[in-house]
Amino acid sequence: MRDIRLLTEMFVPGALIGPFTNAHPGLGGVCTFVGEVRGDAEVAALELTHYEPLTLGGMHQLADRAEERFDLLGLLMVHRIGLLRVGEPIVCVSAAALHRRDAIDAVDCCMDHLKSAAWFWKREKRSDGWHWIEPRDEDHRDLARWG
C-alpha cells in the first residue's frame, strides 16, 4: 500500500501509522520517522511552500525509487505545507517490510530526499522577520549516500 499526501492542516502521525501498520498483516517491521518544527526560542513559526505541479508527482517518483531499491510492503509519505507552529509535525515517513533493514533504509532514504531533493521551500519567522532555510551541507552529504 502506498499512501502519499500533502496536507495543509495539522495532522497526528499516530492516527496515520496505526492504520498503515494494520494494512500490512504479515509484516516483519515498520520504521517511522516524524519530523516536527523544532523548539527554538527564536522561532515563532515555520512556513512551507511548494510548487504544486511538481510536488506530489515528485513524491510519487521518490516512492517509485524507494520501492525499487528496497523490499517494501508499504510506504507512507506525508508532508505538510502552509504555516506551522513549534511542535507541529512537518513530515511523516513510514515503511513496512519483511525485514528491518529495508524498512529503516527506506525511511532514511526518503527523508534525505524530502529534505533536500523535493519541491519544498521553508522559511522561519524570527523576531527580525522571515528567514529562508537552505539544506545544510550535512543534508547534501546524507542525500549523496543513495547515489
Binding site: 511552500t49 511538481l54 524530502l114 533536500s116 529562508w132
Partner: protein, 80 residues
C-alpha cells in the same frame, strides 16, 4: 493567454514579486532579460532549476515557452 512566470521560495524576495507575465514565445535569453538583473544573475548559475509546463528542464537554456505555459524558477529546496 500569455506566459506566467513564477518565482518560488526565496526567489520571490529577490524578484520582488511572486509572479509576472510575459508574451509568448519566451526563450532563455528572453527570460534573462525579463526577470531583472538580480534574478538573472542567480538564474544563470547552476543552483536554480527551471520548470516549463510542469516539467523540470534538463537544460534550462533550452527553454521554449509557448502561449499558456507556466514557467517556474526553482531555487534550492528544503523540505522535511
Amino acid at each position: 493567454m500569455a506566459i506566467r512566470i513564477l518565482f518560488l521560495g526565496p526567489l520571490r524576495d529577490l524578484a520582488g514579486c511572486e509572479e509576472m507575465t510575459a508574451a509568448a514565445p519566451l526563450d532563455w535569453a528572453g527570460l534573462l532579460k525579463l526577470v531583472g538583473q538580480d534574478v538573472a544573475e542567480v538564474l544563470a548559475g547552476d543552483r536554480i532549476h527551471l520548470a516549463c509546463g510542469g516539467r523540470v528542464l534538463a537544460n534550462k537554456t533550452e527553454l521554449s515557452a509557448q502561449d499558456g505555459d507556466e514557467v517556474a524558477l526553482l531555487p534550492p529546496v528544503s523540505g522535511g
